[in-house]
């Protein structure tokens, strides 16, 4: 509902032009830099402002999304977003001089509400908007002046209850046990707060709070978690309400702007590998053994060899590998043939039809929800559907024990010596994509640091395979054969 008033304001201003001039002189006042956006803007803006403020904010949100896609660390992301913000949506603290704080904050306020209108329209858009806005809020929180942050916190009620000294001392051993060593020396002065655990799911998920009968005991330094959770929950609710009210928006000058904005968001970041590349030729089931050997990254190589060894793959493994193959260009007919043949030692045709066919068709979007599932990115593989104890999918750089990974690299590409050391080193520091990129370089005769081209690191198994296939194609037959024989020797070790 709130957002609707935001909408009404610009409509009024544009439809009755003379009044705009008068009302536009009204300048709202914002004492704090941080905004929870729980009050809709009740003032007029012109249609041009409406669009340009929103576009500027959109650039920042798109940058945030693309940072996630590239698997950037939060620190990197913060640096980038701060630079972008200065350019497109500056938001200075109260201490900054010669700045019209209220004007900056007004733009921030308006642009947020305009984008709400554009992104409330589907579950998917809402989810992405909440994530991007949440991240933006987090970056601003982190860069906020600590005194101003406290003032802002005081201006709102987050429903937390401070834990009494007595209760704190009763719980001391438990509270200390979930305090990272670096903070232990501050224990005496640290304040603790009680909240229902559902308000801090992220702390609970990481076991960073003490739980007693549904109440979470949260250290003052974790306050942000409560604030952040509230921010996202409020925004989610508001977006759903806006979505329900939106059909009543009867304003044909705004609709094209909103459509345009929503599209910009979708295009800018996109799920790249959601359909087979147009120029790529299709592949057939019998080509896969050969392709796997030459072009697939380790995660897919391992799934492939597991499939060949066991004549079976578990559900998530089938999905990870199947979607990857789909995007490489394996048609549904070929996919059915491929899996049926691969399982044939263990599973007869009838059983295959009953238990597997549906799922394969489902992943091609032909039955059920009819969704066009994209192939899983490294980000997805690293963070979701993590393998259970008997499963073999996931990212081998992350999921394998050191010894097993070493063996896998040796067996797969005959990797040894310093090369192997180097790759294992990246794994130890948890830079899995760096390890994978280095393996690509080593196995494709690419100079170190070149990656998939221009220094780009591997962020999608399909990007790996696609680049590998492109390189093979690009090279003249002679060069290609030389490279291949080098690679083949290495591979024949097992």
């Amino acid at each position: 509902m709130a957002a609707l008033t935001a909408r009404r304001a610009p409509v009024a201003s544009t439809s009755r032009a003379p009044i705009v001039q008068v009302e536009n002189h009204f300048q709202p006042h914002y004492p704090h830099r941080l905004n929870f956006y729980d009050k809709a803007p009740h003032f007029d803006v012109t249609l041009e402002q409406f669009e340009s403020y929103a576009l500027n904010r959109l650039r920042i949100l798109a940058e945030i999304e693309s940072s996630f896609m590239r698997n950037r660390s939060h620190d990197d992301l913060r640096t980038i977003i701060n630079t972008q913000q200065k350019k497109y949506l500056p938001l200075n603290s109260n201490t900054a001089v010669n700045i019209d704080h209220d004007e900056e904050r007004k733009r921030d306020h308006v642009s947020h509400f305009v984008l709400r209108l554009a992104f409330c329209r589907s579950e998917e858009l809402r989810r992405r908007f909440i994530k991007a806005e949440g991240t933006l809020f987090k970056v601003r929180w982190e860069t906020d002046d600590s005194k101003e942050r406290v003032e802002w916190l005081r201006s709102r009620d987050f429903g937390w209850i401070e834990v009494s000294e007595q209760e704190k001392s009763e719980l001391e051993p438990l509270l200390k046990a979930c305090t990272p060593p670096a903070f232990l020396k501050n224990f005496e002065s640290e304040r603790y707060y009680k909240v229902p655990w559902t308000r801090v799911p992220d702390l609970v998920e990481k076991r960073r709070a003490v739980l007693r009968a549904g109440t979470a005991y949260v250290a003052g330094r974790e306050q942000f978690s409560i604030v952040f959770q509230q921010f996202q929950a409020d925004l989610e609710k508001a977006l759903e309400m806006t979505a329900r009210a939106l059909p009543r928006l009867d304003e044909d000058r705004l609709t094209p702007i909103l459509d345009h904005l929503a599209q910009g968001f979708t295009l800018g970041i996109s799920s790249e590998y959601s359909s087979a590349p147009e120029n790529g030729e299709s592949i057939t089931a019998d080509m896969i053994d050969d392709l796997a050997r030459k072009h697939f990254p380790l995660c897919m190589r391992m799934l492939h060899s597991n499939l060949r060894e066991d004549s079976h793959l578990k559900h998530q493994g089938r999905l990870q590998y199947g979607l990857f193959l789909k995007i490489i260009g394996l048609s549904i007919e070929e996919a059915l043939a491929f899996w049926k043949q691969a399982f044939s030692k263990k599973i007869n045709d009838e059983k295959f039809r009953k238990e597997y066919e549906y799922n394969i068709k489902h992943s091609y979007g032909l039955v059920g929800k009819m969704a066009n599932y994209p192939a899983r990115s490294c980000q997805t593989i690293l963070t979701t559907f993590l393998p259970g104890t008997n499963e073999s999918h996931g990212c081998p750089y992350r999921q394998y024990s050191e010894d097993n990974l070493r063996t896998a690299l040796q067996k797969t590409w005959g990797m040894s010596g310093q090369d192997l050391q180097e790759v294992m080193g990246s794994v130890k520091t948890q830079h899995f994509h760096v390890a994978c990129t280095r393996v690509f370089e080593l196995t494709h005769g690419v100079k170190k640091g070149e990656g998939l081209g221009g220094g780009e690191s591997v962020n999608h198994p399909n990007a790996y395979a696609q680049k590998s296939r492109e390189m093979e194609k690009a090279k003249s037959e002679a060069v290609a054969s030389a490279v291949r024989s080098g690679g083949d020797d290495a591979m024949n070790i097992d």
Binding site: E123, P180, R207, P387, T389, E391
Partner: protein
């Protein structure tokens, strides 16, 4: 009815058997109350024959908007079914005779209207918090069975899991309405019906899994317990376990690790996938290599002995216990308080967790719209009924003693003629104690919902 032909009577795959089971034994009314948190029986009407005895006092959204899914005899799977009342469910079940049926979430509209609603309109709103533990996740450590099989011995893993989970859900999260249900073959389910659990979002469910889940990493990851978090390097030794896991560890090492892992299962008896895994889990090179040469030498001697006499071995101290003692002795040799000693102690704790901590199928718990087999269904493979299990006596539970559909129908046939007419059929069979367990559970659910109602009315009064 089931007839006298034993072959048919015993086969849970036969539609005749399942029809009889649903008609005469399945406690629809009890399940209705459990899922809808409301009593189904309007005053005065007698149960049973008239057919409308199950219908409630008007439609209850917790029931009418609840998703059911049937797996039919030909393996066809029907999702998004929903029913006006318990009678309608019963009628459909008897008509379609599914092998089993599953229970999903309560939606914001009737799931059966899905096709006529705009896409994306049908959203889950409430749902029991559920857990699924399956013996297959223990295949790499259990020695007695594998795959679909389960016996009283490997049930020990389930008992350990139930004990730890039950405690954590009550103590940490404050839930109290937990129903544990044997899955009919090789696992156990838990359904949490507290209102605070019903309302959890998917994110919050994921958070609970993060809190509870310890065993991670796929087949190729030897060390599956990495819960100490923090520094990630070796500076200053490992961090202590989070308090909730410290408690779990206490229970697991005092009640389960020795009798289950070392004695009964004798997990470290063999080398391959036995004590060689144990060695891999020891972070100290020196200790590891000493133990390796010691155990390897022992193994050779035993190989020779084995030919002579296999009997004597069972009288000896179990081999796993001995190896565990060896490891402890080694650790005692390392000076107390040193980072080396701390790392070894931490590793031992992690090993106990790796072998006994519950292995939960996380995906099932994370999403409201996930379906889970309804209690009292029959497992088509074993014919056994999915009966509730008392978590305080989970140790005594024996999956082999769970009544099967064939047995139950046999019991009914034996009673033929002598049966009291006004008693429900299940009350005269070995189903009785199990249905009564759920009814007892239902009484607590209803009590809680009454209290909640009074609270909210009280609050209204206060506001005057």
């Amino acid at each position: 009815m089931a007839g006298n032909d034993d072959a048919i009577a015993l086969d849970p795959k036969s539609p005749e058997v399942m029809t009889s089971f649903y008609q005469r034994l399945y406690p629809f009314k009890t399940v209705f109350t459990w899922l809808s948190h409301s009593v189904s029986n309007p005053g005065g009407t007698n149960d049973g024959t008239t057919g409308n005895g199950l219908s409630g006092r008007g439609p209850v959204p917790a029931w009418t908007h609840r998703e059911f899914a049937f797996t039919l005899q030909n393996d066809a799977y029907l999702r998004y079914l929903s029913f006006n009342d318990a009678d309608e469910l019963k009628k459909q079940v008897i008509k379609l005779v599914p092998q089993r049926f599953e229970v999903g979430a309560i939606y914001n509209a009737k799931p059966r209207d899905k096709k006529t609603l705009p896409p994306g309109r049908l959203q889950p709103t409430r749902r029991e918090l559920v857990f699924d533990i399956d013996m297959t996740d223990y295949d790499s450590i259990r020695q007695c069975c594998s795959g679909g099989a389960v016996c009283k011995r490997c049930w020990g893993f389930i008992a350990a899991a139930v004990t730890v989970l039950d405690r954590s859900l009550r103590r940490d999260f404050g839930f109290s309405l937990l129903l544990w249900v044997y899955s009919g073959r090789r696992g156990i389910h838990c359904w949490v019906s507290d209102e605070s659990a019903m309302q959890l979002t998917d994110d919050q469910r994921r958070a609970i899994m993060g809190w509870l889940e310890v065993i991670k990493g796929g087949k190729e990851m030897v060390k599956k317990v990495n819960v100490r978090g923090g520094r990630g390097d070796s500076a200053g030794g490992p961090l202590p376990l989070p308090p909730s896991l410290e408690e779990a560890l206490g229970i697991l090492s005092s009640e389960f690790f020795i009798p289950l892992i070392l004695q009964d299962q004798d997990v470290f008896r063999k080398r391959k996938e036995g004590w060689d895994v144990l060695l891999d889990l020891i972070p100290d090179k020196e200790v590891r290599s000493r133990l390796e040469s010691k155990w390897a030498a022992q193994a050779e001697i035993e190989m020779e002995d084995d030919d002579d006499d296999e009997e004597t071995q069972s009288n000896e101290v179990r081999k796993s216990e001995k190896k565990w003692e060896d490891l402890k002795k080694e650790i005692k040799g390392v000076p107390k308080g040193t980072p080396r000693r701390q790392a070894l102690t931490a590793a031992m704790e992690d090993i106990v967790l790796q072998y006994t901590y519950p292995r939960i199928d996380a995906e099932v718990s994370k999403h409201r719209n996930h379906l889970l087999k309804a209690p009292f269904c029959v497992h088509p493979g074993t014919g056994r009924v999915c009966v509730p299990v008392d978590p305080l006596r989970v140790n005594e539970f024996d999956p082999a003693k769970v009544p099967s559909v064939g047995q139950l129908l046999g019991e009914l046939d034996a009673l033929a003629g002598s049966a009291e007419v006004d008693e429900l059929d299940w009350e005269q069979t070995s189903m009785k104690p199990y249905v009564e367990m759920m009814e007892e559970h239902n009484r607590r659910i209803l009590q809680a919902s009454r209290e909640r109602k009074m609270m909210s009315e009280g609050r209204k009064d206060m506001s005057w």
